[in-house]
Symmetry: C2
Subunit: 440 residues, 2 copies
C-alpha cells in the first residue's frame, strides 16, 4: 500500500485522521505551506521541521522551467533535491499556466504557453504534466485540469468541466502506465543528499539524515575535528533510525473537481470525478476572485459527493479563519501562499487579528507579534525590532515574518485537530472570528 487514509475522529462534518504517504505520516486536517521552487521562501528546512510542517507543496510549472524535471530527477527527486525527507505534493501546473505564463492557448490536446522567464514555448498535456510529476517524484500528484476562470458562463463552465474530466482519464491512464518510473520506486531510497559526500570522506556506513540542530549546537565548543567526527557518527545513527522509502511504493494521484460557480455542475463534477477510483480528491477552481459565500457554497455542493473514506483537498485557500470553516465543511487538506506571501509584505496574522508590522505605531512596541503565540519569533523578538527590520528592508524581516505566519497557521490546525478529537470543534469554531461572510 503506497498511500492510506484513516479517519480517527469526527465532529459534525469535520474529521481528523492520518494519511500515510511514502515519505511519512500526515495528520489531518493539514495546512500545506507552499514551497514553489523547492523552498518555502526565506525559511530553512530545519526551521520548517521545528514548526511541525508535515507536508509541503511544490509547483510543477516552476520546477519544470527551473531547474527542469530531468535535473530534479537526476538529483533524486524533490525530497532529496531539497533535503526534505517528509511528504511533498506537486500541483499539475494547470493553474500556473493560466495565471503566470504568456500567450496561453488551450486545446483538447492541452495547453501551449510561453515561459514567464524567457518567453520560450512549451506545452503541458495531461500526459506531459503527469510525466513531469513522476519525474519530480512528490508523494502526492495532481491530475491535469483546467482551472475555470471567474466569472464564466454556465456553458463555458460546463465545457471546461467536461474537458477536465477527459483530461483526468488521460492523466490516470498515463500514470497507471508509468507510475513505476518514479525515482524512488523499487529502492531503499535515502532522502538527504549532501551528506553522502560528506560521509564518504570520513566513514563507510550509509548516511542519510541531517544532523539535528540541538546536537550541532551542543557540539559547538568541541574542536572542529572532533565535531566533524561526531557529526558523521550522528548521521549514521540517524540514518539507521529514519525509515527510507519502502521499495515498491508509488505516488498517489488525486483528481480535481471543477464546475465554476454552479452548484449543480460542482455536484456533477464530483460525481463523475469519483467514478475514477483514486486515493484522494481535490476541489479546484475556487478562491479565484469570487465572493467568499460562493466559495463556501461550492464546497458544500461538492463535498457530499466525495467519498467519506478519501482525503478531500481544497486547493489554494485561505485566511486563518477561513481554513477553520473549511474544516467544518469536511475538508482535510489545504494549501495557500497567503501566510508566506503576506509575511513578505509585512502582514502578520495574530490571535487579535491582522497586523501590518511597518506601521509607525509599532516603532516603540516591546511586545511580541502575538502575546498568545508560542512560536520562536514571538518568544524572542519585539514588534519594534521586527518593524525596524521591515522598514530597513532587511532580509531577516522576511524570514522572521514568514516563520511567525506559518507557526500561526500550523498552530491553528493543531488546535483544530485537538478540538475534533475532543469533540469540542463546535465550541472551537464559535470562538474563531467569522470570515467576512460566514458559512452559509
Amino acid at each position: 500500500m503506497s498511500f492510506r487514509f484513516e479517519i480517527e475522529a469526527r465532529d459534525g462534518k469535520a474529521r481528523t485522521g492520518r494519511m500515510v504517504a511514502p515519505h511519512g505520516v500526515i495528520e489531518t486536517p493539514v495546512f500545506m505551506p507552499v514551497g514553489t521552487l523547492g523552498t518555502v521562501k526565506a525559511v530553512a528546512q530545519d526551521v520548517l521541521e521545528e514548526l511541525g510542517v508535515q507536508i509541503l507543496l511544490n509547483n510543477t510549472y516552476h520546477l519544470y522551467l527551473r531547474p527542469g524535471v530531468e535535473m530534479v530527477r537526476s538529483l533524486g527527486g524533490v525530497q532529496r533535491f531539497m533535503a526534505w525527507d517528509k511528504p511533498i505534493l506537486t500541483d499539475s501546473g494547470g493553474f500556473q499556466v493560466c495565471s503566470l505564463s504568456e500567450l496561453r492557448k488551450v486545446t483538447e490536446e492541452g495547453v501551449a504557453f510561453r515561459s514567464h522567464l524567457d518567453g520560450s514555448s512549451h506545452m503541458f498535456t495531461p500526459e506531459s504534466s503527469i510525466a513531469a510529476q513522476i519525474g519530480l517524484g512528490a508523494d502526492i500528484i495532481m491530475a491535469f485540469d483546467e482551472c475555470t476562470e471567474h466569472p464564466a458562463s454556465r456553458e463555458r463552465a460546463r465545457g471546461s468541466m467536461e474537458m477536465t474530466l477527459r483530461w483526468l482519464r488521460r492523466s490516470r491512464d498515463y500514470f497507471e502506465q508509468h507510475k513505476e518510473e518514479v525515482v524512488w520506486f523499487g529502492k531503499q531510497w535515502p532522502v538527504a543528499s549532501g551528506q553522502l559526500s560528506v560521509k564518504a570522506k570520513t566513514t563507510s556506513g550509509p548516511s542519510t539524515a541531517a544532523v539535528p540542530l540541538s546536537e550541532t549546537a551542543s557540539a559547538q565548543d568541541d574542536t572542529s575535528s572532533e565535531r566533524r567526527m561526531a557529526n558523521s557518527e550522528k548521521r549514521i545513527a540517524n540514518s539507521e533510525q529514519r525509515a527510507a522509502v519502502t521499495p515498491g511504493q508509488t505516488q498517489a494521484l488525486f483528481g480535481i473537481v471543477q464546475g465554476g460557480m454552479y452548484p449543480d455542475l460542482r455536484r456533477e463534477s464530483a460525481e463523475r470525478t469519483v467514478e475514477i477510483d483514486l486515493p484522494g480528491y481535490a476541489i479546484g477552481g475556487l478562491s479565484v476572485g469570487e465572493p467568499r459565500n460562493i466559495t463556501y457554497a461550492m464546497v458544500d455542493a461538492a463535498i457530499p459527493y466525495l467519498p467519506e473514506d478519501k482525503p478531500r483537498y481544497l486547493m489554494g485557500v485561505g485566511t486563518p479563519e477561513e481554513i477553520v470553516h473549511y474544516v467544518a465543511q469536511g475538508v482535510d487538506m489545504m494549501d495557500c501562499v497567503l501566510p508566506t506571501r503576506a509575511a513578505r509584505h509585512g502582514l502578520l496574522f495574530t490571535s487579535e487579528g491582522k497586523l501590518t508590522i511597518k506601521n509607525a505605531q509599532f516603532a516603540r512596541d516591546e511586545g511580541p507579534i502575538d502575546p498568545e503565540c508560542g512560536c520562536k519569533v514571538c518568544a524572542r523578538y519585539s514588534r519594534a525590532y521586527l518593524r525596524h527590520l521591515y522598514a530597513s528592508n532587511e532580509l531577516l524581516a522576511q524570514t522572521l515574518n514568514t516563520v511567525h505566519n506559518l507557526a500561526y497557521y500550523l498552530d491553528t490546525m493543531r488546535r483544530v485537530r485537538q478540538a475534533i478529537l475532543l469533540g469540542e470543534f463546535a465550541t472551537f469554531l464559535s470562538g474563531v472570528r467569522p470570515p467576512h461572510l460566514s458559512v452559509p
Copy 2:
C-alpha cells in the same frame, strides 16, 4: 571591573585569551561578524548562537540614521533591541561617514555629512559619536577617528593622525563624563525583549531568555496551550540561569591607531595612543585598497608598541587565510563584511578554496559546499540545490550561504585558538594556504 582581558597561552607572537565584557565572555582571537543595522543580514539570532558567535559588530552610522539612537536606547540598548544577550561592539561611525555619506566636510570640530538615505544634514564629532555609542549601549565602543584615505601623502597622513589623537582625547573625556549614562548601568538588566509581554499573560515571574530551539522542537507535538505554558516555564527557568548585566558596569572605550602607510607614523601613532590608558587598542585605516604586504607591514609596525596585556583589534579584515596570519602577528580581534557580503553574492569559502556557487559546474553536484565542513548547511544541502536557490534568486540562498561562510570563519578561529593552546600554531599556520602575498 567592567572589562577584563586575560592571556591564556602564547605561541610566537600569537596569543589566546579571554575578554570579560558586561554581556559575556569572549575567547580570543575572535572574529566578529558584522550586523550593521542590528542584524547579521539574512541570519536569525538563534542561528548565530548555534554557530558560536561570541560578539557582533553594529554600525553606529547606520543605527544613528535608522531607527535612531534615542529609539534604540528607549528600547533598552542594542542587545535588548535585537534580542542578543551576548557582547556587541559598535564602531565610531568615522569610517562609514567617509565611505557612505555624501558631501562630507572634515574640520577640527568633526565631520559634517549628508545621510545616504535621505540627504539630511548631520555632524559627527568625537563627543557626539561617543554620545551615540553610549546611547546604543554596546559592550565595546570605539574612539572617533579619521580613517586616512589611501593613497595619502606623508604630510596628509601625519596631519590626519594628529587629528585622530586630538579626537581620541575628546572621545575619552566625553566618555569619562558620561559613561554612567549607558542604559544598563546600575541595573540588573534583562536583555531579551519580547518575552516580557508574552510572559505577562501567563505567569508572574521574571522572564528574559529565549527558548532554545531544541526545546521548541521537542514540544511541537503537544497541544498549543500546553506548548505555550511549557515555553513560559522554560523562559523563567532560563532567566534564572542566565546572568543579567551586573549593576555598575560601564562600556569599554578602545582607541584607534592610524598613520597611513608609513611605518614610522604607525609606530608614533601607537606610542601616543597608548599614552591614553584604555582597556583595548585598535589598528584602523588598513584594508583600504593598499597591497596586502603593506597591510602586514603596518600591523608589524604598530603591534610592538601596543601593550601586551590589552586586546588588539585589527579593523575591517580579512580573508580566512589572512585572519590566521594577522593572529600570527599578535592580533586578538577582527571584523569584516567579507564572509557575509561575499555569501550574498554566491562566493563561498571552503577548505579547498573559494567557490562561486552559481557556476554551471555545480548544477548536478550532490556534494556539500565543503566536504571538510561540519556546519549545518554542509550537513544537509547539496551544491546543486544551493546553486538552484542562487540562480533562482531565492532568499534562502542568502541565508544558507551566509551561515556556511560564517561557520567557516568561526571554525577557522576555533582551530586557531586550539592550535595556540596546544603550542602547534606554527604548524597550523604552515598549513594555511598563504595569502597572495605572504607575511613579510
